[in-house]
Amino acid sequence: MKLKPHRLLAKVLVYGTLLLIAMVWTVPTFGLLVSSFRSADDVSRSGWWTVLQNPAEANLSLDNYRIVLGTAGDDPRLKAKIRAGQENINLLTSVVNSLTVTIPATVIPILIAAFAAYGFAWIRFPGRRPFFIGVVALLVVPLQISLIPILRDYLKLDLNGTFLGVWLAHTGFGLPLAIYLLYNYISSLPRDILESAFMDGASHFTIFMRLVLPLSLPALASFAIFQFLWVWNDLLVALVFLGARPEVEVLTQRLLGMLGTFGTDWHLLTAGAFVSMVLPLVVFFSLQRYFVRGLLAGSVKG
């Protein structure tokens, strides 16, 4: 097919503009990735883009990752590279902490919200409408409003600095959106299926476990990814309720700390940042379809 000249020009413009924008959006992350493989001296002596001009002499290695993860061991070559104050970065501990915070803080709200969404959608009970309106109202409430009262409760209950406290906080802050999203999905399930199960004498609980949960898997997955990314990337809730103890700190807290202490050690900062980004990026790209579906269903989160 032959295009007329002005149509061709328009096409070139469209593709060109998009390529340019995509490049601007990708280069920052790419620069971070490249720098994380370069030695301290290389990073501070030349821009990361020089690697592209002269790939043969780039001298890339995983050393920075071994230093920040605390897996350098007794390797004398690596030991020589570690400066005073950099021996105990040990991000591996923070990775485990981030997982310990994130997995329950994703599953618990989903379970509680799925029950609630079913209750709102398929059981008639007094107060159903006002309670659900309450949930909708809470969708946009900024979580800052809860920090002081909940912190006071936690101090009284000795919950401050525990994972349980953080799970519950993330559950509370994630619930409105979870209930709203899952309600929209569960309430639109075909009525006949549920009614015939009722006719057969199944209880609400059985219907929920056997029928509704399996049918709602796409919606559950959407919200799970949402909440996973939200909790993994959260800084504020961790700072307030987990506090600054190295043995419980999550990755975002450690990264913030590294920005303060190693402000110019870009070889370590870039490696640390990438450690914190790997898992969300993998989850994101492998489950993007579900994530987008969730975004489309509930673009009202507070």
């Binding site: 997982l99 909708v136 900024p142």
Partner: protein, 371 residues
């Protein structure tokens, strides 16, 4: 018409017992979960097991414990007489969620307002903290900066999102998918991670030294002087806003793109046959059709931006004239330990979202007359 609530003999007692039962059921699951988990934690806190073992045990306890409790609650309910079972079942389902929402979001709005009336030493001072929240220098600076974040951040995120969505719609599907994935990617990155990425781009070395920050390298290559972007008043806030735009454009793009793909092809074709050019199609058909989506996307990003915190804390700590409301709240709480002021600032944030809340509720009321 017969009312749903059938009055039975002994109505009042029955009513009281029923509602008491409902409240108990609502509190039962969270309370027991809470106590069991709490005790386990105290136990685990004192063990010296390796970290990953504690982590696995914690995860299993947290998730498994909750599931077990829902099962237990249901088992209990099913042993009740039918009438009671019918009354209690909804509260096994809805109760735990309502109890947690009440504790974590609903009651805190009231309690935060109450705390905002006291000073650092616990003395009642009326609305004095609000005088600070509305007239103090750091807060006025925060209001100005938050306004910049809202206008520039939201405007450009939505603007870029719209541009990319429109253009990508005209390209080969494979190309479209690739471009969108690249622009969407930052959504997976934390704001602290993004701050590391961008701080590296803004890195400054004195004139004459090798510039390792991309922005200064470009400026120098074009013959300019290197700048310390993050302390360059009044522009530094804009350099922070750029990070937000980088993070949020993907979101705007995805939602707007879905809306554009939902426009009927016949509508666009008809306009083109009538002689409308692409610009006219864009302004008189595409924009009016997706107006609702644009409003939703903008509102979501506005609410997100209003609470912006991580970026400012990681990049400048709120110094050099970049303070924002949420970071000022954090500073008051955890640097100055002035909870009263922190509470007053939180109330200001809440007031700012009230119009959106009101709009959401009205929309919800309209859509669900028969709820």
């Amino acid at each position: 018409m017969e009312s749903l609530e059938v009055k039975k003999p002994g109505g009042l007692v029955q009513w009281l017992v029923t509602n008491l039962g409902r409240i108990l059921v609502s509190l039962f699951i969270p309370a027991i979960t809470f106590i069991v988990l709490w005790r386990t934690f105290i136990f685990m806190r004192d063990t010296s097991a390796p970290q990953w073992i504690t982590a696995v045990v914690a995860i299993i306890w947290g998730v498994g414990g909750l599931a077990a409790l829902f099962l237990l609650a249901n088992w209990t309910i099913e042993r009740l007489p039918v009438a009671w079972r019918v009354r209690m079942t909804p509260f096994v389902f809805v109760g735990p969620a309502l109890a947690i929402l009440a504790w974590y979001l609903f009651l805190p709005t009231l309690r935060t307002f109450y705390f905002s009336l006291f000073d650092k030493s616990g003395q009642f001072i009326g609305l004095e903290n609000y005088v600070y929240a509305f007239t103090s220098q750091p807060m006025l600076e925060s209001f100005r900066n938050n306004l910049i974040w809202l206008v520039v951040g939201t405007g450009l995120s939505v603007g870029f999102g719209l541009l990319i969505a429109i253009l990508a719609d005209r390209t080969h599907p494979r190309f479209e998918t690739l471009i969108k994935a690249l622009i969407f990617m930052p959504m997976a990155i934390s704001m602290v991670g993004a701050s590391v990425i961008w701080k590296f781009i803004y890195e400054f070395r004195p004139e004459g030294a090798v510039q390792i920050g991309l922005l200064n390298a470009i400026v120098v290559a074009l013959g300019g002087k290197p700048q310390a972007w993050l302390i360059l008043k009044p522009w530094n806030t804009l350099f922070l806003v750029a990070i937000l735009i980088w993070l949020q454009t993907g979101y705007a793009m995805v939602i707007i793109s879905a809306a554009i793909k939902g426009i009927q092809e016949e509508l666009l074709e008809a306009a083109r046959i009538d002689g409308a050019n692409e610009v006219q199609v864009f302004f008189s058909i595409i924009i009016p059709t997706i107006r609702g989506t644009l409003v939703t996307v903008s509102t979501t990003i506005v609410i997100f931006t209003l609470k912006i915190f991580d970026i400012v804390l990681s990049m400048t700590g709120g110094n050099f004239g970049t303070q924002v409301i949420a970071n000022e709240q954090y500073t008051q709480m955890f640097r100055a330990f002035n909870f009263g002021r922190g509470a007053a600032i939180a109330v200001v944030l809440l007031l700012a979202v009230v119009p959106v809340m009101w709009y959401n509720l009205r929309q919800f009321g309209r859509q669900t007359e028969a709820f």
